[in-house]
Symmetry: C2
Subunit: 411 residues, 2 copies
């Protein structure tokens, strides 16, 4: 079970979390709980680091910031004990949850589940401080943004949990953002691959890293609402409470062709026109961007009628747009391009579904549907289970609603 910062924001909420945990214990389950820091706490600690020095050491930042989860884990353990539930807090170094040396954004390398399993078998709840591990040089290392989701999935994998329940401020994964499409439906189940695409392409319910980890280790991950009554019955459709199970494709009986529509506004488009078309031109364009740590996404290359010049269009994260334009402008002498253009009022809309593998025509249906609404497509990328199109951001709602209806997702 994983609870985020708003779920442990104060002692009343921590008591509510404890009731959720007690319910599972009373049902005979062995439970590990991963918690974030109390809401606002991490920002407060980050601010202290910034005040101490603008260029603060990442190891010390980690020692400081990780203390937030240390407090919330200890408090939840105390509250559980007061409710008569045996519980013990666990810090990253106590488990131990090993990471690499990338302090501030460390990756988990290995978790030893033995100590936790030993306690779980004694019917003791393990309350694990999220977001933290221990680096090879015996230092606290934090996992970076969304780290607690990742901790939860990693702990679940290490203790071979039947399920990893992520309690969050939404009650599951939807076919698309319900704020844009009121007819959006909550999915009962979604495959790891689809969820990974959904998360990568704009759905914010889970961090991409945690979904990756769940997929690699086959951790069945259940997204559910932290606002649910802790004492409500826990059996509904598929023997699960309300929420969305992220699981292996095999566990999904009635697979739809398209599972969801995602969109991301954090996109910027860059076009370079009339570049002399010679071998290695792409490397000349994208090498410097890569050197500047700018992630290039959708790439479209057209050739001119006479074959002498080419146009290259691609997208970058909106936050990197100015930097990317500068890198390219600096390389103008070498690239010898005619025009450098860009746009930040664009959105990437994606159609996702593992059913595409076995159904032809899904992409054509998408392009036709958008064309019928007069929506111009600036760029396209596809993978085995998704189609992404770049369009003017003014058309976001129209495009998402159109595709949502088109693929029969409306509830």
């Amino acid at each position: 079970m994983k609870f985020g910062g708003t779920s442990v924001a104060n002692l009343d909420r921590i008591r509510n979390v404890a009731r959720h945990v007690k319910r599972e214990v009373d049902a005979g389950n062995q439970v590990a709980v991963v918690v974030s820091a109390m809401a606002g706490k991490t920002n407060e600690l980050v601010d202290l680091c910034r005040q101490a020095s603008r260029l603060h050491d990442a190891r010390e930042y980690d020692a400081i910031v990780s203390s937030g989860e240390q407090v919330s884990a200890g408090l939840l353990a105390i509250v559980l004990q007061e409710m008569g539930v045996d519980a013990r807090s666990w810090l990253g170094w106590q488990i131990a949850l090993h990471t690499d040396s990338s302090h501030g954004a460390a990756r988990i390398t290995e978790i030893d589940g033995d100590r936790l399993i030993e306690r779980l078998e004694m019917k003791q709840v393990a309350v694990v401080a999220g977001f933290q591990g221990i680096s090879p040089d015996n230092r606290i290392a934090t996992l970076g943004r969304g780290g607690s989701d990742t901790s939860a999935v990693a702990v679940a994998a290490a203790i071979k949990a039947d399920r990893c329940d992520i309690y969050t401020d939404v009650d599951g994964v939807y076919t698309t953002d319900p704020r844009i499409v009121p007819k959006a439906r909550r999915l009962g189940r979604i495959s790891f691959e689809e969820m990974l695409e959904m998360a990568s392409l704009g759905a914010k319910v889970l961090q991409v890293r945690s979904v990756e980890l769940a997929m690699v280790h086959g951790v069945r991950t259940f997204v559910r609402s932290s606002f649910d009554d802790p004492d409500a019955p826990q059996v509904g459709v598929d023997n699960l409470p309300p929420g969305t199970l992220i699981c292996d494709e095999d566990e999904i009986v009635e697979q739809q062709v398209v599972t969801g529509i995602a969109f991301s506004k954090d996109e910027a488009q860059i076009s370079i026109r009339n570049v002399p078309d010679r071998p290695g031109v792409a490397a000349t364009v994208f090498g410097p961007l890569s050197d500047a740590n700018i992630n290039v996404d959708m790439i479209v290359q057209n050739i001119s009628p006479d074959g002498s010049t080419t146009d290259i269009t691609f997208t970058v994260p909106q936050t990197d747009y100015d930097r990317a334009m500068k890198v390219l402008e600096d390389g103008r002498a070498e690239l010898k391009f005619g025009v450098l253009e860009g746009a930040t009022d664009v959105v990437k809309v994606s159609v996702i579904g593992v059913g595409m593998r076995s159904h032809a025509g899904v992409a054509a249906q998408c392009f036709r549907g958008l064309a019928e609404k007069g929506i111009n497509i600036r760029a396209i990328t596809t993978s085995e289970i998704k189609i992404s199109v770049l369009i003017d951001s003014a058309y976001t709602e129209l495009a998402v609603r159109t595709l949502h209806s088109l693929y029969g997702l409306d509830g």
Copy 2:
């Protein structure tokens, strides 16, 4: 170097601490710094534990409360780095500073100084989170009240430091409390034994436990003011900056007969009169008090003229007075005493000095001096290096001033 909570209360003060540290580093010293939590932080965390449960688990309390020192140690390391001083924070489990299992009031059992020494030799400042260690079951254990002073002395012993400098809100150890006796003088040096008596008998400048530890390990401990200008010259009398060195007797050249006058108002007197005088009567009185964890201090027993009954007078800490009276009242049937009396408006005044060992008449001088002022002595205890008398608290100032003058301590 050890700095308390008010010295690291905010980032400006932490920067001031860093200047003290940098001065020592610039002078060519290898430095370990022990810090408390930012002022107010520990209370805030203790409050959270209490809100979570009135009967909170000591292990979880320790996990939560120790996070305060974790933050201040990290911040000081960052600030030192910003000043160009290589520094690294150390938590109790990283050193490791081993303790027993008495969570909340753990005692240090062993410190491994090797890891710290290795870094110190690389000219890296070790910033140690005070107040915390690691228990035999791999849990954070806090050292209880005054724990950071104890941490500092223990670290100093482990790294074989030349000196342990305790920066505090007073500028040294005085012959007595300057608020009571304006003529009180700061002592340049005081022996471990004397300091232990001073601390045990009411002087609050250092915790008793830290002095004990300093004495056992021969750690020369220097009490000095945290308000000193960090950039002031560091050489004065005896090649030391202003402050008091607590050291071995041998290091003190001109030893006075009496070094200081301490007093403690946390005393209550209890008298049991007309107890039938039979063998084992003392055990019958003090056994139940000991069982109730009540510390009995000065004990005076008189016999009646006919030898059939006895009067027993003793003191207990004021906070245990009501409990002690109840324990005795409950034992009335067995003890068969006549009258049970008590008083809480009493004070214990103590004359301390290793010179007493070789000078006779110090006690007689004390009794005579008090008698001349009309001060009645309720009880007396003595040791090799101290004389304590119990008197009415109304005479505290008069008694302390009288003795301070009598033994030539006035400045």
